[in-house]
């Protein structure tokens, strides 16, 4: 069977990984290339690079770094941030990305998922969606979680899957940063609505949260996190060993 996946996410700004990291043995803790290599050598099943820059010049720098990362490590790479057009897909794919994650770009241009999936295949298009409960309803938020779009999240996800999104990253704004575990209720609702792989994001604080995630929701394919990996709170190899001992199939 395919394994569950553990995915660290790196935010890149001006050519550097922001938020910093806390690893011994790394000369440059904010070098995207060094960090990508570290994670690739230390159990990550896939990497997500998120471009949080805005200007054209910075975007060019991001592309150069992506090329360098993609020629250094040989595991699947997903790139997100600033993906608004099919040309943006083309730009990052040419630098060695395997999948491209769209969020606000898909909200602004509902044809983007369809157009990109037709050109590059469903497997290449990842829909990332920021979801928050508003009066008991799951709503899609835009602009990094600051703006309520008013759209109902499950309907939005289903629509994008119908248009060709091959994978869904569900970021729960409600649990993000709280470190009390993934948003199992929200993830369950998404898993029951679509048949493409679902990646859980937001809320992991320790190893047990991942065990709880995969045990409670066997349909979830992957767990994504950032700071707990970057600050060494959770070591990916240890985490995967523990999951494996709990009967969850991992790549060791």
């Amino acid at each position: 069977m395919t394994t569950k996946r553990i995915i660290p996410c790196l935010d890149v700004k001006n050519g550097r990984v922001v938020k910093g990291v806390n690893f011994e043995g790394l000369n440059d803790v904010s070098s995207p290339v060094e960090l990508a290599k570290y994670y690739s050598d230390n159990g990550a099943d896939e990497l997500v690079f998120y471009d949080i820059t805005a200007s054209f010049e910075q975007r060019k720098l991001f592309s150069d770094i992506l090329c360098e990362v993609a020629s250094t490590i040989f595991i699947p790479l997903t790139v997100g941030g600033g993906i608004n057009t099919v040309d943006d897909f083309d730009r990052v794919l040419k630098c060695g990305a395997d999948k491209v994650s769209v969020n606000s770009g898909a909200i602004r241009n509902p044809n983007l998922v369809y157009e990109a999936a037709k050109l590059y295949g469903d497997q290449c298009v990842v829909l990332s969606v920021d979801v928050k409960r508003v009066d008991g309803v799951f709503r899609v938020f835009a602009k990094g979680g600051r703006e309520n779009t008013g759209m109902e999240a499950i309907e939005w996800i289903k629509k994008c899957v119908g248009n060709g999104a091959g994978e869904i990253v569900v970021n729960s704004i409600d649990t993000d940063g709280v470190k009390k575990g993934f948003d199992l209720e929200m993830l369950d609702a998404v898993c029951n609505a679509v048949s493409v792989p679902v990646i859980a994001s937001g809320g992991a604080g320790n190893k047990q949260h991942f065990t709880e995630l995969f045990k409670t929701l066997p349909k979830v394919d992957a767990g994504l996190a950032a700071s707990i990996f970057h600050f060494g709170e959770v070591d990916i190899i240890d985490l995967k060993k523990e999951l494996n001992q709990n009967g969850i199939c991992m790549r060791l």
């Binding site: 394994t3 996946r5 595991i75 699947p76």
Partner: protein
């Protein structure tokens, strides 16, 4: 020198980088002269079978690759490139392949359990079939490789060298004489994948 056939399907950046990482001298090319002078050939591919088959046959590259392979030159097909080695595919109608290996390409939905996701995407373990293939010289049974596919090679028992379990055994790799193929992506399979490429590329090996 190893010729990576460029026939306009998919992005060859990672493949080229991974070959460089194992020390192979690889060139991405559609030049018949370079392909003929290469020691080995890699046929990549991502996308739909019909589109890839049209491009390979219409460009004349199919003829060259077939001829070189029949003359004994080592050939490795990757993902859709592996599927192209077979007789035909049933992806959106029936389309012919290179017929270098016996078998045909069918949807995995024909054979897998209905509650499983399609495409078969992610890391899965290799189960060797028969004697260990020279392609697996540097890896072990049970090692994980990265798959992304919705179609698979069926009826290829005479070339099957490895399978992966996805409710049933799915063709993961094939090899017969000088012709090899991986359904998974060695260029995305970490050190295991690099070791498969190394075994194919090294001089005096395959």
């Amino acid at each position: 020198m190893i010729a990576i056939i460029d026939y306009g399907v998919g992005n060859l950046f990672s493949l080229k980088s991974s070959l460089k990482a194992v020390g192979a001298d690889a060139v991405v090319t559609n030049d018949p002269k370079i392909i003929r002078s290469a020691e080995k050939i890699i046929l990549p591919g991502v996308g739909a079978f019909k589109d890839a088959s049209d491009k390979l046959f219409n460009s004349g590259l199919a003829e060259i690759v077939t001829e070189e392979a029949k003359n004994g030159k080592p050939l490795l097909g990757i993902c859709l490139g592996m599927q192209m080695l077979f007789e035909k595919s049933f992806e959106y109608g029936e389309t012919k392949g290179l017929s270098l290996l016996k078998g045909e390409i069918r949807p995995i939905s024909d054979v897998i359990s209905h509650d499983l996701k399609i495409p078969h995407i992610g890391w899965n373990a290799l189960k060797f079939n028969g004697e260990r293939s020279p392609l697996f010289k540097y890896i072990n049974e049970g090692d994980f490789v990265y798959f992304v596919h919705s179609f698979f090679a069926a009826g290829c028992e005479d070339s099957l060298i490895a399978t992966a379990e996805y409710s049933c055994d799915i063709t993961a790799a094939v090899g017969k004489n000088n012709i090899f193929g991986c359904q998974f992506h060695p260029e995305k399979s970490g050190s295991v994948g690099l070791n498969i490429l190394r075994a194919f590329c090294e001089k005096g090996g395959i």
